[in-house]
């Protein structure tokens, strides 16, 4: 049909698509046999997952003596990995909720996979505090329920308790947000599926969705409400994670800077992880038309912004220590930059603050290989940030006689590797069975069949 492309809307896609093509392209990915590339990724992921399950079983049955902790350093690898994974999760909610409220149309191509990343990252994060308990089978003691011990209630004033509420709410709301977004797409898949088990499962989860506008009308309202609820939620989650540290009196932790510092760091690591995953998906699933520089460019700009915020936080920490005239504070920051863990500190500064500045150059922002390399380095740097914050503060605390050092054991390293196994196994299963790009939402930003030049948002207007 002639004249169905709006000249006033700038296309987000590599080439203009009609709704029919979008359905064919995205749903079609799930209907043809999966390529060898998927198996090449899936088998190592499952192998790592099995390694993780084995080591977690071993350390639970043997005891936490299998870790490299000592009396001085009571938190190290588990909590580092916990904060690392929670941080990664944050970009998913940023893209799905905050950018939704800001009407960023480019988010439509990335939101679904980013939300999936959030859910799997929070699952990985959740495992670490549970195994860190030492007796994980008593996990349910965190839940305030009437019990036979009194009832002895949990301490609601403790940041660790707030963490329990924050992480579980975050997981449940992310899951809900993701599922609500999936319902129309599941109906699309259902209507294309041949009779059989797949169709039955899709019918079950698509809830009888028929595309009625009366339903869409309310659905959009709920989607916007969920985005509005998830936005302060995501900020609260990493704020509360940072309060786990800031509420302690340990030098290097006891600072009011921590909540914004942690939130910025979380968005930096999460955005980097989203970019890594998207670049791989684009290549492997041949989504070149759907994930273009118009998607990657704003994400790299977000990285510049949060990287500068993180750099500012690193500087502010030093200034606050200097200004505090507390010799313990001053010592710990000098020790971070020049002491035994200085190598880790400078990896962190280089990867999180210096290298991302390359994104100021348009040539770097349009070079997908360079984006991928920088994002991998940011993930390394952000892991080191948490490690440095935790271990460098604990190892050299107030009493030099109790100073110590920490090296992870093979069990801890294998557990960390296992968490990557869990993450990638889940993610690969997701791209195998569910549409990686929101079919319904993408159609709202197409140029097809629209003469009005009004900038469309995603769902709600």
């Amino acid at each position: 049909m002639a004249n169905t492309e709006s000249v006033l809307r700038l296309s987000l896609l590599g080439q203009p698509k009609s709704p029919t093509q979008v359905t064919e392209d995205i749903a079609g990915l799930l209907e043809k046999p999966i390529g060898i590339g998927w198996w090449v990724a899936f088998i190592p992921a499952v192998a790592l997952l099995i390694l993780g399950i084995t080591t977690v079983s071993y350390q639970i049955s043997t005891g936490i003596g299998t870790w490299g902790l000592n009396k001085t350093i009571g938190w190290a690898f588990d909590i580092t990995n916990f904060v690392f994974w929670v941080g990664i999760g944050h970009a998913g909610t940023l893209i799905s909720a905050i950018l939704f409220l800001f009407r960023q149309r480019w988010r439509t191509s990335v939101a679904r996979a980013a939300e999936a990343m959030t859910i799997f990252a929070v699952m990985c994060a959740g495992i670490f505090p549970i195994i860190h308990m030492g007796r994980p089978w008593r996990f349910f003691w965190m839940i305030p329920y009437p019990n036979e011990r009194g009832s002895l209630w949990v301490n609601f004033r403790s940041p660790l308790m707030w963490d329990f509420f924050a992480i579980s709410t975050y997981f449940l709301i992310s899951l809900l947000f993701w599922y609500v977004g999936l319902i129309p797409d599941l109906a699309t898949l259902r209507d294309r599926a041949k009779p059989g088990l797949r169709k039955k499962v899709l019918t079950f989860f698509s809830l009888g969705w028929d595309g009625s506008h009366r339903t869409w009308h309310r659905y959009e309202m709920v989607y916007m409400l969920l985005a509005g609820l998830a936005t302060p939620l995501v900020l609260s989650v990493h704020t509360i994670v940072s309060l786990d540290f800031a509420a302690g009196i340990v030098p290097g932790w006891h600072t009011t800077l921590f909540p914004p510092y942690f939130v910025a760091g979380a968005i930096l690591s999460g955005m980097a992880m989203v970019l890594c995953l998207m670049l791989v998906l684009r290549k492997v699933l041949h989504l070149e038309d759907y994930l273009t520089l118009r998607h990657f460019d704003p994400m790299t700009k977000v990285i510049i912004a949060v990287s500068c915020m993180v750099g500012l936080a690193y500087g502010t920490e030093f200034f606050t220590a200097l200004y505090s005239s507390s010799q313990y504070e001053q010592f710990i920051f000098m020790d971070r930059a020049t002491g035994t863990l200085a190598w880790g500190y400078w990896i962190m500064v280089a990867c999180n603050v210096v290298i991302p500045q390359l994104f100021w150059f348009p040539q770097v922002r349009s070079n997908l290989g360079a984006i991928f390399a920088i994002c991998v380095l940011i993930n390394v740097g952000m892991w080191f940030e948490r490690f440095i914050i935790i271990v460098s503060s604990l190892q050299h605390d107030f009493l030099p006689s109790s100073w110590s050092s920490y090296t992870p054991t093979s069990v801890e390293l294998a557990t960390f590797a296992g968490s990557f196994g869990l993450f990638f196994t889940c993610f690969l299963l997701f791209i195998r069975f569910l549409p990686v790009i929101s079919i319904g939402e993408l159609k709202t930003v197409l140029t097809y069949g629209r003469s009005s030049g009004q900038e469309g948002s995603t769902h709600a207007e």
Partner: protein, 186 residues
């Protein structure tokens, strides 16, 4: 006024369009000529359609607010009762009823209740539930067709009347559907 429920009982005209522009123009024409459009089945939310169908704004935020309030008040009450009444414990000399320290849990439970409550309300209002079949499958409505539904009996219009009315909007198909459903139970 005709409601969504009349979809099940009356013969209907299903008018399919293949672009958003044609749909909006067509719905405007139909309503302008006095034919009630009961519903439109679309692959994505079409902006401007709610206004074209004169749907009132959703009152769902009221449900969200009430659920959020329930969550916040419940966890506040539990924290207050557990920490200050049932078994007060001195933690670092803080008062029994340490309201500022109770806020993180109050906030989280507010979000949790408001989120799940809103979605539950949506499901109930729109008749969505696990395992349900769609009442009727409108060809292409979950992929690339926009299907407007007009009751044939109420206005005594037929396919030819609609075709001439919508000449400029080029509907791709106009079909008559009885109340027989393709989907099963409801």
């Amino acid at each position: 006024m005709l409601s969504k429920h009349s979809l099940n009982t009356q013969p209907m005209l299903l008018i399919s369009f293949d672009t958003e522009d044609a749909l909006l123009a067509g719905v405007g024409k139909l309503r302008g000529a006095g034919h009630p459009v009961i519903d439109v089945f679309t692959p994505y939310p079409v902006h401007g359609l709610s206004e074209a169908l004169a749907l009132p704004p959703s009152r769902l935020p009221i449900a969200t607010f009430l659920f959020g309030l329930t969550g916040a008040v419940s966890i506040w009450a539990l924290q207050h009762w557990a920490s200050a009444v049932d078994w007060p414990i001195n933690v670092g000399g803080k008062p029994w009823d340490s309201l500022p320290a109770f806020f993180p849990a109050i906030f989280e439970l507010m979000v949790l209740f408001a989120g799940y409550g809103s979605v539950l309300t949506l499901f109930i209002l729109c008749g969505l539930w696990f395992g349900r079949q769609p009442k009727r499958v409108y060809a292409g409505a979950t992929s690339d067709r926009f299907v407007a539904v007009v009751p044939a009996a109420a206005t005594l219009i037929g396919e030819t009347d609609v075709r001439s009315l919508l000449r400029d909007c080029s509907p791709v198909a106009v079909t008559e559907a009885s109340d027989s459903r393709t989907g099963g139970r409801r």
